[in-house]
Symmetry: C2
């Protein structure tokens, strides 16, 4: 006796034309009925942005060799909202986002459009998972990453993800023989040491490029940054309640 | 014996030309040396977006009647990063963001550019506070809100905010006589029920406007949404560690 096939929404932030979303699409294809709604242009670093001051465009496109593939002019979070409301007309059983070109470990969860799509799913009560590969190479080899996707999607469909949560999965860029397995762990408290590349345009006006170095706090050994550096794929259960319960009492003692 | 005046960075997401940032600027002016770096155009709903695929512009502007006032082409998080790196050349003692035109209670903390600027401050180890007034009126009366700002900024400068945290302060839109005081509380688990306004342009091509209704889960009585509805300003201590520690064990028991 076979149950109905799950409905799976695929999105990302690197755009519909990236190798990462093709790899994700192919990895989840055996698990259900797939709808893809992804940005029509790169949306890396868009975080949880939504488009409220401009109209959105969305159209079915001839991509990924499938039907039900749409590109959208908005952010990854827009894709989730618009896809559910105007394409699927129902909540999917699962949202998968990625596979991102570049890791989204540590505080990058906040900057990442890929993860924000998954967090939006969690906010809407939908089991959601963001996948990222630790390589910015647009032609990166996603073989190991696709196996991780298969493993995690299978478990998520079988066991569910507790409501209000999603998973942040990061995969090391290693060959299969060097891949160590999976670790459930916490988000590292790493940060970007920002630098700006200051330049002059042809009118002698200044402009800046944001750049910087990612700095881990080396003593942490129970984090995504630590384990991915050891060859493990990391799974960080992620929530959208940002309340800092542990300091509430301190603030309550203020003279306000 | 007077200590050195604190250095305060003022930003927002409604842009340098909003009444909200003028109100915030005037409220914090007595507390320290002020630098303002705010978006040159509205950036509501930009969340934690950063600009990585385009160059950024920033220039000193003749606004708010002060010196050290800059407008920036980027997002609120860009303003914080660029301001610290290229204007202040040091971390400020305090970042204040707002006063936002419209509440940022509940899950809006994730969509809000105003709050993302404060969260970025927390990530950089700087005491940071986002302020929002529960009115979208561009000419709203900020009298009550400015008093709340003064109270909270005074306490934050005196007591500090534990590292890695910021405050999400929302102020009800009421007259002074109806203002009930302040409540430290948690982020409500409310959400947007999305709707899209679907239209045709003059080429008969479809476009969509994101809209929707904000839905609270009514049974919650210890949240920002609840207390602001009762006439209280709400203070939600907010952190950037999004790890869902309470479900880690469950995921660890998966067959991965």
């Amino acid at each position: 006796m076979e149950s109905e096939r799950p409905l799976i929404l695929v999105t990302n932030d690197d755009s519909i034309s990236s190798k990462g979303i093709r790899s994700l699409y192919e990895a989840v294809l055996p698990f259900g009925d797939i709808i893809v709604i992804a940005p029509d242009s790169p949306q890396s670093g868009m975080g949880h942005a939504i488009t409220i001051n401009d109209p959105l465009r969305m159209e079915e496109v001839d991509a990924l060799g499938g039907v039900g593939v749409y590109s959208c002019s908005g952010t990854p979070v827009d894709c989730v909202k618009l896809g559910i409301s105007e394409v699927m007309h129902q909540k999917p059983d699962l949202i998968v986002s990625g596979i991102n070109h570049g890791a989204n470990t540590a505080t990058n969860v906040l900057y990442s459009g890929t993860m924000s799509a998954a967090i939006e799913g969690a906010m809407e009560g939908i089991p959601s998972i963001g996948f990222s590969l630790d390589s910015f190479d647009p032609r990166a080899d996603f073989t190991v990453a696709m196996k991780v996707v298969e493993k995690i999607v299978k478990e998520a469909l079988e066991n569910g993800i507790p409501t209000g949560n999603c998973l942040n999965v990061n995969i090391p860029y290693v060959q299969q023989e060097d891949f160590k397995g999976l670790k459930v762990c916490r988000q590292a408290n790493a940060y970007w040491e920002d630098r700006f590349d200051k330049r002059l345009d042809h009118h002698n006006r200044t402009y800046y490029w944001l750049t910087g170095d990612f700095k881990d706090q080396k003593e942490q050994t129970d984090t995504d940054v630590y384990w991915i550096s050891k060859g493990y794929a990391t799974v960080v259960p992620t929530q959208f309640d940002m309340t800092a319960y542990d300091i509430m009492e301190k603030i309550e003692n203020w003279n306000i």
